[in-house]
Amino acid sequence: MHYAPAPLHIPDGFLNLVVSLIFWALTIAAVGIAISKTNKSLGEKQVPLMGIMAAFIFAAQMLNFPVAGGTSGHFLGGALAAIVLGPWAGILVMTAVISVQALLFQDGGLLVMGANIFDMGVLTAMIGFGLYRMVSASANKTLKLAVAGVAAWLSTVAAALLTALQLWISGTSSLQIVMPAMLGVHVLIGIGEALITVAALAFIMQARPDLLEAGKVAEKGGRGWIAAGLVVSLIAVLLSPFASGDPDGLERVAENLGFLEFGLDAPYTILPDYTIPFLGETALSTIVAGVVGALVVLGLMVVVGGMLKKQNAR
């Protein structure tokens, strides 16, 4: 048996450089914080635990169940990892999984890996853990499982939504086609994901209730995650029907806001005079504009992270 996953992640060449670099910056910031957070809570145990859990996600993706007509449902696992291990550990685990998928199986590119990790690791952790954290202290098990199911479904759909937007901003796909297609497929995949996540969580609650104690969950991520999860979920919920039902509308809004032009020719508008005579005006200015954009985003993340840290210390 030669393991070959169906390529589902964005490959190299599909996103333009500015989009790739911006999402790399966001991902590097998130992973950096995640490393220091889990290091603090787990110490040297961090490496074996995260490594095995990443292998778990990888192996669990082989679990399938027959649906109908020869197709089968698969498990992605990001939401479950974020709920049980906590958001920071979830981000690290998904980062490791996506890196290996890209490096070893060419499932997803290297330059666009930042975007892939953000879509499937960071966003999933925000929605998965954020929504679950809302009810983690509740004694009602059914409520907790229901919220976990919704979170798993929504994180799948939100990842598809963001991927479609990235492809569109990069000029790879037209919105009218990619948005309904991506959302349509992932609304269905998300149902399978939700069912498996709920069943797995119910099993863990039964067998190892200590892992999901309210106090332990609160330790892994503060109340800030609830806000983050709610905001991201709300955006996804509001944007999805609008984007799939009226993609032209979204395109028009983006055009009116000048957002589309930013995406398509950002390098020229941010640094209009930046030219190197013998290379032409695109190669270096693209890189520099991308780096500037990435640094701005990174700086923003550091400031926000610092503020959050202070808030936590108080």
């Binding site: 048996m1 030669h2 393991y3 390529p7 964005i10 190299d12 060449g13 599909f14 333009n16 490393i35 290091n39 040297e44 145990k45 961090q46 490496v47 074996p48 635990l49 995260m50 490594g51 095995i52 859990m53 990443a54 292998a55 778990f56 990888f58 192996a59 669990a60 082989m62 679990l63 169940f65 027959p66 109908a68 449902g73 696992g77 479950l80 049980v84 290996v100 070893l104 199986f105 060419q106 590119g109 290297l110 790879t172 796909s173 037209s174 086609i177 990619v178 399978g192 069912l195 498996i196 709920v198 069943a199 797995a200 099993f203 863990i204 067998a207 892992l211 290379l279 695109t282 190669a283």
Partner: protein
């Protein structure tokens, strides 16, 4: 399941195999970056990039068409890019009516689609070649040298090590499910889809707990052997003159590709 099911390394004696893994990683990333920087329709430069790839292939002693034969795994995702053909800017080439929707391919759109296809196809091949000529532990070590946080690279190294173990665990779970699920050929067996999903979910939960507890045991075993949070390797990677030479020649070649892409 055989232990090599996840291994993508092809053992051979070649210049590329002997090259320092850092150089291989850096040149691969530069090659992908170079593809991303080429403008739409810079066909000559894409062709040069392909020649660069073919030369690398032949330097690997695995056959000139080695990566080509394996490059079709990225094809399914190409469907996503097909809609680029209908980019609104540019001259319309034709008008097709499909299910009552009129689709207008434009010249800009077709050029764009072709370029995306080429970029992806070249980049995927570079990645295939990289893992074919570099052992995974060496690859991880190279990333560590390139300042990727050691925690992350070690987690990835762990993932790779226990992938085989946990996959075996999954196969055992699947085999157990199969042997519990007797069915008469031609007759519907099992209950609703929800029930089946629940069974799969319980298997995922079971696998999670087994993995979680295994990580505890592994950690204790590591502690007992003097683990301090650092992983060590016996293979000291030292850059030699040949490595620097390959790096500089590759960078010059990629700069040349870019130059052709701008002029042509």
């Amino acid at each position: 399941m055989h232990a090599d099911a996840f291994d993508r390394y092809y053992a051979a004696e070649s210049t590329l195999h002997r090259l320092d893994p850092r150089i291989k990683v850096v040149v691969t990333v530069l090659f992908i970056l170079s593809n991303a920087l080429l403008l739409d329709g810079a066909w000559a430069a894409f062709g040069l990039g392909w020649i660069f790839l073919l030369l690398a292939n032949s330097a690997s002693n695995l056959g000139v068409d080695f990566t080509f034969r394996r490059s079709f795994i990225a094809l399914p995702f190409m469907l996503v890019a097909v809609s680029a053909i209908f980019a609104p800017s540019g001259q319309p080439l034709a008008e097709w009516r499909v299910f009552g929707i009129s689709l207008v391919p434009t010249d800009v759109g077709v050029i764009r689609f072709g370029s995306i296809l080429l970029r992806t196809w070249l980049s995927v091949q570079a990645g295939i070649l990289l893992v074919a000529v570099t052992q995974f532990p060496d690859l991880i070590h190279a990333f560590e040298h390139l300042r990727v946080p050691a925690v992350l690279t070690t987690i990835i190294a762990f993932l790779y090590r226990y992938l085989f173990v946990l996959t075996d665990e999954v196969l055992r779970l699947l085999r157990a499910r199969d042997s519990r699920s007797a069915a008469i050929p031609g007759q519907k067996s099992g209950r609703s889809v929800f029930w089946r999903a629940q069974i799969a979910g319980h298997m995922a939960g079971q696998l999670f707990l087994r993995s979680y507890e295994r990580s505890d045991r592994i950690y204790n075993a590591m502690l007992a052997r003097g683990y301090t949070g650092q992983m060590r390797t016996l293979r000291a990677h030292v850059m030699r003159r040949r490595d620097w030479l390959v790096l500089s020649v590759s960078i010059l070649a990629l700069l040349f590709v870019q130059l052709i892409g701008r002029i042509g």
